[in-house]
Amino acid sequence: MSRSPLSVNRFRTIFISIWLAVIFDITFVLKWYGSGWDWPVAIIDSLISCSLLFIFCLPLMIMLQYYTPRQKNYVNIFIWCAFITGVWLALTHWLLSLALGHYEGYDSFLHQSQIIRGSIGFLLTGCVALAFVIWYNWEEQQENEKRKQDSEKLAKEAELFKLRQQLQPHFLFNSLNSINALIGIRPEEARKMVQQLSDFLRGTLKKEETQWVSLQEELQYLQLYLDIEKVRFGNRLSTVIESTDTTNEMKLPALLLQPIVENAIKFGLYDTTGETMIRITALVEGNNLVLKVENPFDPETSSSSQGTGFGLKSVQRRLYLLFGRNDLLVTEAKENIFTTIVKIPQATVTIAEK
């Protein structure tokens, strides 16, 4: 159920102010229109009429809260308003003649003004109903919007989780297998690799995708990953990481660079034979941190359309969600070197941090 506009402070204030204004307005009209009535008559008449109308409007408001009519049922609102106005008119007539009937000429005035009172009453209830219908429609729309956003977010998270899962178990079990081998032949190295693997996994578990981290932190973490791969594939893998003090200080969203490097490893190491060099270069370009990841690939087995693996698609989506831009991730394949370039705007980083 949606909340009533009267439960929102700002709207309650506006509503009460309008009602008070109507009371004053009617009082002044009674005082000065035509021959005019004395202050007590004007005030009592206005107070009784308006307060009663307000009370009569309450069931209308409550009803609209539970049942917001669809477009074709708007005529129902008219009927309710007319009915409420009628009952209200009869009751005020009776009350007013009881309270003010002893004033000379009031009864006939009351009688003559019925039609005007009725139309004002109908107008006011109509306005209240309209305001409430608009409010509830808007509320409903907002809620739908929110639900849509929530479900999209959930779907996205699930998708990202799944994407990550596809790569991790393979890596994890193969690493464990390498450790198993090392225990037999080089136990010292096995112990070291257990440490590296634990640190890496801890890092994966700890990090949230909403976090921003310094490049230095991210590179240290990736170094663990690359070191593990070096053990798995012997001397086939060599890595070069070029980063300056300036770029080390710059920030990037957590777990953004990792899928890019994983992708480089997948095509550059898993799908090739012979020596593999993976190069990560960090540069400053204007207000951007630019990261370049280069890996070799086997043009015979990986066709060009495969170039952007699923890892990169999720990176592209995240960049779009973070910065609203689609031009931050660029890939190119030249001869047998695949290069992924990602730009991370730094100004937005400070805004996001605040």
Binding site: P169, H170, F173, N180, A181, I185, F233, G234, Y270, T301
Partner: protein
């Protein structure tokens, strides 16, 4: 018995080597780094048993087996591959999940010894049929072209044509033969991209430029390469469905 280990990780091979030491009758003949090397070694040495990883550079374990006329007994070693494991289980093929123990390894060897007399060909054939249906397997077709191995990405395939016991795979470099049935390809290829237009033809729909009527009930599809591929009445219905006509 001759044994060959095919795995792209040296440490993974060394585990198998270590566990093998217990069996003097099993002689480690060669270690291979990838599917192509494995293929060559098997053709050359004709081993009795191979240990085979699935995910490898060049060609993967399944693709390598596909290219063998007489596959040896296989013990698969893999870390994590949902589809492969499903295929193994469906055909009671023994596989070792990395990391595995000496005990588990011993059991696998025992099983192979017990099945010595059964030809592994049939099991392998059925296994490959199942494995071919996994999405990761069907991005390309691997064929033998004389002594060379050719990897054809699916988007480079124009159309497939039945030719006796083979299927002709037509590409811009001419056609390649694969020892499979049309039904195999119809089932393993993505039906949103490859449509069986005729009993003897499967078309890559991205290659179609137009479809013309031909004789009374039939049609003919004109491909970008200019090739004309017959379309039967049922094939026309299927094509229209996929093309959304």
């Amino acid at each position: 018995m001759k044994v060959i280990i095919i795995d792209d990780e040296p440490l993974a091979r060394s585990v198998v080597k270590e566990y093998l030491q217990k069996y003097p009758q099993l002689e480690l003949w060669q270690e291979c780094n990838d599917g192509l090397e494995g293929l060559k070694a098997i053709q050359e040495h004709n081993p009795d048993l191979i240990f085979l990883d699935i995910q490898m550079p060049k060609i993967n374990g399944f693709e390598m087996l596909e290219l063998l006329d007489q596959p040896p007994a296989v013990i698969f070693t893999t870390a994590f591959d949902e589809y492969a494991i499903k295929a193994f289980e469906a055909h009671a093929v023994d596989y070792l999940l990395k990391p595995f123990s000496q005990e588990r390894f011993d059991k696998a060897i025992e099983k192979v010894m017990a099945q010595k007399n059964i030809s592994p060909e049939k099991i392998t054939q059925e296994l490959l049929e199942t494995a071919a249906q996994s999405p990761s397997q069907s991005q390309r077709i691997v064929v033998k072209n004389g002594s060379k191995i050719k990897i054809i990405p699916l988007q480079e395939v124009f159309y497939l044509e039945a030719a006796d016991d083979y299927v002709k795979i037509h590409t811009k470099e001419g056609y390649f033969l694969k020892n499979k049935t049309m039904n195999h390809f119809e089932q393993s290829l993505d039906q949103q991209h490859f449509v069986r237009s005729h009993r003897s033809y499967i078309i890559n729909i991205q290659q179609i430029t137009r479809i013309d009527p031909y004789e009374k009930d039939n049609h003919v599809a004109i491909l970008r390469s200019g090739a004309k591929v017959p379309v039967s009445r049922n094939g026309y219905v299927r094509l229209r469905q996929v093309l959304g006509l």
